[in-house]
Amino acid sequence: MNKQQLQESLPWYVNDTLTDAEKQEVETALAEHPELHQEVAFLQTLQSAVKQQQPGSQPPGEMGLQRLKREIIKETPSSTSSSASRWRVFAVAASLLAVIQAGYILQQSTTDTGIVPLSGSHYEGPVLQIQFKDNASEQAIRALLFKHQARMIDGPSASGVYRIAVKSSGKPIAETVKELQTNHNLVDYVAEE
């Protein structure tokens, strides 16, 4: 390694991203060019100074995130008009809430004492995130959740994702996820939280 190559390698020696072999090569070359130790010191000080530089302004933070979410909603394509799609999400949500309040989804065994109103903060069992097809009917969703002993606990998010809690039954939750995924006409996406 000649002196020029050594000088060009020193920044990566200083930021510790060289391979072991490269580092060894640099250290051997530095022993032959002790005048470059000051160069190393300069680069270390530069690294420290760059890291300590306070930005003149702060990143947008939560406001930036909200702006991004608004733009995603505007840009999200749908098979019908975007406003009709949004109304469908709201309509399904409203129907589900009505059903929940009527007690249909909170189906528990007679021996289960863990029944609590949805308005409470307690729920049992693993939680999944699920997104239904745009054309999924409330009746079909209700039947699906009843079949898997699941209940809505949150949602929808801006992109139509719900959170459901599945009653603990000894069956691995991954199996329940797979079973839900087989309902291609109803379920767009489901995964463990």
Partner: protein, 189 residues
């Protein structure tokens, strides 16, 4: 969180985003917003444009999360997207490329004596001075200095982000370093 842990988490979030999970985008945004912003601000020198760039980059990630092939760290891929978005903005600004000036400038630089180097290193304690000298670098030089010393990236990763040969990255940092020394020396004298 270590770099590896961050990368693992980011990969999981990207995978979830390919399934349309917006909560994962939110988590991803919070993880990387500051770094994307800092990098954009380094080159654009305008907080509003840097904020707009963050928005564009995250939108790009949301739309094309499936394009991440896993051959690099997520952060490298992300900064590469940021590089392109910033480049588009700079092209619109039609800024003069100052690289040639910096290269010529460095050629006239004589070797500093050790004493002068001690003074230069001492001068770097002045954060205002170092900021001024960094701001006086060309965008290309400021960019590689940021990626090398703020992000602590390897020259191979930087080459991937800025899409130039590895040798060019090393040369740019070399010339940027010399330009900084010259700027600091001028203030000392």
């Amino acid at each position: 969180m270590s770099t590896d842990q961050l990368d693992t988490q980011a990969r999981e979030l990207l995978q979830q985003m390919t399934n349309g999970l917006q909560t994962s985008l939110e988590a991803f945004y919070r993880l990387f917003e500051s770094r994307v912003y800092q990098y954009a601000l380094t080159r654009l020198n305008d907080p509003h444009e840097a904020a707009d760039t963050v928005n564009e980059v995250m939108m790009e990630v949301w739309k094309h999360a499936s394009r991440f092939e896993g051959r690099s760290r997520v952060s490298t891929w992300l900064l590469g997207i940021t590089h392109h978005k910033v480049y588009d903005r700079l092209r619109k600004r039609k800024h003069r490329n100052r690289e040639e000036d910096i290269d010529d400038y460095s050629d006239r630089l004589s070797d500093d004596s050790n004493t002068a180097m001690d003074n230069i290193i001492a001068a770097m304690q002045d954060s205002e001075l170092i900021r001024n000298c960094l701001d006086n670098l060309s965008e290309a030089h400021r960019e590689v200095v940021h990626l090398a010393f703020f992000e602590d990236l390897a020259y191979q990763e930087i080459a991937r982000i800025v899409e130039c040969p590895e040798g060019t990255v090393k040369t740019r940092v070399y010339h940027a370093k010399n330009a900084l020394k010259k700027c600091l020396s001028q203030h000392i004298n």
